[in-house]
Amino acid sequence: MIREPILNAVIMAALLAVPLWALWAGEPFTITLATRAAILALAAVGLNIALGLGGLVSLGHAAFFGIGGYAMGILAHHAQTYTPLMEAPFLIEGTKSMPVIWLTAIVAASLAALLIGALSLRTTGVYFIMITLAFGQMLYYFAISWPTYGGEDGLSIYVRNDFPGLNTLRPFPFFAISYVALAVGLFLSWRIAKSPFGLALSAARQNEARVRTVGMDPYRLRLTAFVISGAITGLAGALFADLNRFVSPTMFSWQMSGEFIVFIILGGTARLFGPVVGACLFVILEHWLGGLSDYWLVFLGAILLLVVLFARGGVIGALAGREATHD
């Protein structure tokens, strides 16, 4: 067995080493694949706070991913068409600035998570899964029927947004941005897991009544976690849309939410780097098996089945032991 902190450091180093090698070897597509893996990992890191720490199986996290994506798409669309987003009661214009777009995505996703969480966290178990799924699908169909921003066809952004001091049109600087965002997301997730709030959240997952007897309200704990989780996934959505320079209702789909859960299960539920390993594996398999067969998801399903049956701690659990250490 490898100590989990060492394994985590190796994973983070490998995720950086691959695009560095690709930069040296002149393989820009590999850099794009690594960027995609880092962004999807960030989305799943967000979900892992709700699912891994709080035990909240949300099948609607694509809602926040999509909101982040559309925050980027709408702001960039208005900037590139030189049309204001809103004129009355006050003027709001579009922007191509990544930091402003990220902030908007985080705020919008947080507000949506607050609303969705406030309603759905009054239920538990299968009802919670269903209500989060319903919210995600509501937003999916809303995006499809919103012709102003492309409806079912989505919205194309012709030039990637700007980040001060970096040429984001080149693959490596954009990978670096995504990698740093992932590192910040992981650090936040680690801090939360170690904090009294994270411990209480974890305790509430184990026994709600016991947590109440020490003066904590499980509903508030879970709602806070759900909002933080949604905010991180929203940021990932904005980055994902920027990577593809395209946003579409697919980002809201339940399949997207399902993929985030698959990343976490593959890598290891409640393990800090579980979502990173899961997202990387997914992108590798998608690229490798996708080239062999259109039905590559069948193979992914088989792998997932094997992980659930024989490696319940996911890949991290198989390599570092079953018990999560939060280190």
Partner: protein, 229 residues
């Protein structure tokens, strides 16, 4: 002056009524023993006090404030620290994490809990699941203290423990009484140990309070009649 006041509470589990009128009160700094045979309503009374079960009639108040309608976490935040029956710790968390998760500002900290239970101080990094039964009970008491309560409720805190561990826990309870002035409501079957710490006692039988008075006034006739000892 009364810290906790319970007046003629009645409560039921669905159609099965368990309490038919329990009355008791605890003053600040006082240790009250809640006595009774198994199934007489002691744990149900505690559940009602901690708002884990709603009384159908009667009134529970803390510091003069009626607790009706409070969620259970509000009762805990208002100063009621519960050590539930059966050592209910959070097994996957470490000792330190169990204590930190419950912590609220006040005199009780990791250091003071470790001073009260040195065994816990030595095992801060150990998972609660791997502790002995006695250590888990110490952890459950430590966790309740970390909420910095004004009233500590110990529900069968020494049940099923080795005699040497029981002695350690009774010593800690005596120390709590002597050094902190914390009000304690204790449910236990060991009259000999209770006699060293309890100021007053309330006996419950059949879901009703049958006797209340100074612990020293408990006569063999009373204990034989209501407790069978």
């Amino acid at each position: 002056m009364t810290l906790l006041s319970v007046e003629r509470i009645e409560a039921a589990y669905g159609p099965a009524q368990a309490l038919f009128g329990v009355t008791l009160d605890v003053a600040p700094g006082e240790v009250l023993a809640l006595l009774g045979r198994n199934g007489m309503g002691k744990s149900t009374t505690i559940k009602v006090i901690c708002r884990l079960l709603t009384a159908s009639t009667g009134k529970v108040s803390l510091d003069g404030q009626d607790m009706a309608g409070w969620p259970s976490h509000r009762a805990a935040r208002a100063g009621i620290g519960l050590v539930p029956e059966g050592r209910r710790v959070f097994p996957p968390l470490t000792v330190e994490e169990n204590l930190t998760a419950a912590a609220r500002p006040g005199d009780w900290t990791l250091a003071t809990v470790s001073d009260l239970f040195p065994r816990l101080g030595e095992r801060l990094g150990q998972r609660a699941a791997s502790l002995s039964g006695g250590e888990q009970q110490m952890l459950a008491i430590g966790r309740a203290l970390m909420t910095n309560p004004r009233l500590l409720i110990l529900d069968e805190a020494t049940e099923g423990l080795a005699p040497v561990v029981r002695q350690e826990i009774w010593a800690a309870i005596r120390r709590l009484k002597a050094e902190t002035g914390l009000a304690i409501l204790v449910v236990d079957k060991s009259l000999k140990e209770l006699a060293t710490v309890a100021d007053r006692a309330v006996i419950i039988e059949g879901g009703r309070s049958r006797w209340a008075g100074d612990f020293a006034e408990l006569t063999p006739t009373l204990t034989e009649r209501y407790l069978g000892v």
